[in-house]
Amino acid sequence: MNAMPSIKLEDITVTRGKRKILEHFNLDIKNGEYFALVGETGAGKTTILNVISGLIVPEKGRVLIDDVDVTHVAAERRDVGMVFENYALFPHYTVYKNVAYSHRVRDRNVEETKKAAREVLSLVLIPNRDDALPKELSGGMQQRVALARALMTDSGILLFDDPFSALDAGLRMSLRIELKNLARDLGTTVVHCTNDVEEAMMVANRLAIIKDGYIEQLGTPDEIYFRPKSIYVASFFGAVNVFKIKITQIDVTRGYYFGIHERGEQERKEFGIAIKDGIPEFKVGDDALLCVRAEHCYINKGFRKKPNRIYGTIDEISFLGHILRFEVKDEFGKRYVAKRFVNEKTYHLQFQKGETVTLGFHHKLALLFNYPGDKEMERLEQNI
């Protein structure tokens, strides 16, 4: 296996019928990197993988693997390993035959194939099941076999297309960690597609949020979470509370934006937000979109009137195991979400439905974006 090749997509365009799936798409994946593509169904993630593997030849643009132009090299000669959501094992082939398949079609030496197959099967922890048929194995085991088959290829590139979505939560978690360690130990370059951003954060060194065929944001897990470029990226991690605010004051020395949210005659909320990296520049009088993640909202009993606070009553409490999720309605009927990490020791600090509470957040954890317009604002408020 060539260790750690780099992958470069240059100005790629792919159309299907009249629809442009990718247009002038660029991506640079470093050698040995574990890279994740995150997006909703139909965003174009699988198309990107297929362009890398050669299953789709783009109408425009170039594909470079280790700086060699492979745009017109057929998929089987690019020889990248792929693992799919549905495993895609040959049902009538045994575990061994499935794994050895790529070597057999290339007429490799039988002894060499055996040795390589044995190695990869023990790497993915499936020893001694050579003669089993896929249907005799659990979903998790089948996916390990698919992974072993992908590891038999020579390019040092692995492409994962939502590999864990058919598996249950516990297994998914342990396989993610295994996969990450395996890729690191082998020095493989990996591109991993998923619609689950937490999965991407767990495995990848860098990730790209894909939306409608373009990259909405590319960065490390830390950057994507703490400095999201848009509300679209921010809301991948779960509920985000939103406010339309007007910037009223800018304190450059202390590093603050101050703003107010006003609606109707009555509603008036004051906010102070730390100016930090990634926050756009605003002038006094500008409208802005203030976002606070549900997990960055703290919840306290009673009523305390101060900036960065919202008062309301608890409308719903959901128990998610290690998290309690609170839905709070303010006196104007607007809904907010706060999440609190709990464990057996802290769970008893209970809140009741209907109780008056104050939600607050730290000025350094708030996010500010350019105001997206009233229509989008309304949609965001409804989607909380």
Partner: protein, 385 residues
């Protein structure tokens, strides 16, 4: 609002060879939102069909509001269904889809319009009445399915993986919207899902099934904090299981000896337990219950021991951090204990724990773990499939 009772219900298929429901007795209170969960083939779909009257029990009785379901004609059972695959007629508008059942049953036009629009308002789709299914997004399609079920004016709603087709980004807010809707209408609802987190988030009660039997039936908190088996403990949330044996067993405590030469520590036992000295056990700690203590911190703590009197007792074990992964809202740690066991811990990333990969630390275990007898077949207990 109907109350549903099952009394000794058994259902067999293939001339008694397949036992899909094994002597099930349970009560679903009116207005409850109940989830059916379990590995595939556990009998949850059969149970749903039995309660809906789509299958007849081989033996036993099902009562809806005290009336034997077998005595009620299927069309009079007054049940709404929502399916994973929507089952929306592509050639009909949103309105026609929702009105369909009423049209077939010969309602007058004025009533049909009133009821259909009311249902579409509830799912916030009244601005799309004339749209065709192909113009709608996936969540909108499922809202049509929901509106159609609501328009039957049934007091009971059956939902089979209704959110299964949605992306996680949309599914999460949608599930809370679904619960609000069901609660607003005061329906009794029964939902089948394979998503444990979804069930925990919105269910009033959860039924966990395996091999045709009910393993546990309770609130999400019951199942999470008081699981009655390793299977249930492992099925919800993430649990670290530690293997070992017990000694000094009293009526409410024992000494736990961690296997592979690990240290021993005191743990509490539930009153009425049946553990004997020397018994092989598995104890379980949720990932969020695992405390990570930096060595310098623990030295400080010792020097301030007097202040710690009120704190719950914490057993500590030497360990090293093999990985620390930032996942946005939370941070996950993979930790190797001194006896070689590998466990995981998960904490809010708001507390910026500076514990790093490779660091030697202490792991704190509180004294109230879940304690289970060592099972005959551990792999089977820990498998979710």
């Amino acid at each position: 609002m109907p109350k549903i009772e099952l009394m000794d219900v058994t259902k067999t298929f293939s001339e008694g060879k397949v036992l899909a429901s094994d002597n099930i007795t349970l009560t679903i209170s009116d207005g409850d939102f109940v989830f059916l969960l379990g590995p595939s083939g556990c009998g949850k779909t059969t149970l749903l069909k039995l309660i809906a009257g789509l299958e007849d029990p081989s033996s036993g009785k099902i009562l809806v509001d005290g009336k034997d379901l077998g005595m009620v004609n299927p069309e009079d059972r007054n049940i709404g269904f929502v399916f994973q695959h929507f089952q929306i007629f592509p050639s009909m508008t949103v309105f026609e889809n929702v009105a369909y059942g009423m049209t077939v049953r010969g309602y007058d036009d004025a009533s049909i319009e009133r009821i259909a629009i009311e249902a579409l308002k509830l799912v916030k789709l009244d601005h799309r009445v004339l749209a065709y299914p192909k113009e709608l997004s996936t969540p909108e399609l499922q809202k049509v399915g929901l509106a159609r079920a609501i328009a039957t004016r049934s007091r009971t709603l059956f939902l089979d993986e209704p959110l299964g087709k949605l992306d996680p980004k949309i599914r999460r807010p949608f599930r809370h919207e679904l619960r609000r809707l069901i609660k607003t209408l005061g329906l009794t609802a029964i939902q089948v899902t394979h998503d444990q987190e979804e069930a925990m988030a919105i269910a009033d009660k959860i039924i966990v099934m395996r091999a045709g039997k009910i393993l546990q039936y309770g609130s999400p908190e019951d199942l999470y904090y008081r699981p009655n088996s390793i299977f249930v403990a492992n099925f919800f949330g993430e649990t670290n299981f530690l293997e070992g044996f017990v000694s000094n067993v009293t009526k409410d405590s024992c000494t736990f000896h961690l296997h592979l030469g690990g240290p021993k520590f005191e743990v509490k036992l539930a009153p009425g337990h049946a553990f004997k000295n020397g018994a092989q056990v598995m104890i379980g700690y949720r990932v969020e219950d695992i405390e990570l203590i930096e060595l310098h911190e623990s030295m400080q703590a010792e020097s301030q021991e007097l202040d710690l009197e009120d704190k719950p007792k914490m057993n500590t074990i030497k360990a090293s951090v093999t990985d620390a992964i930032f996942i946005g809202p939370s941070k996950r740690f993979i930790v190797k204990l001194e006896n070689g066991d590998v466990i995981q811990a998960k904490h809010s990333s708001k507390f910026l724990l500076d514990i790093q990969k490779g660091e030697d630390i202490l792991v704190g275990f509180h004294e109230h773990p879940m304690v289970f007898e060592y099972p005959d077949d551990l792999r089977k207990e820990l498998s979710k499939a």
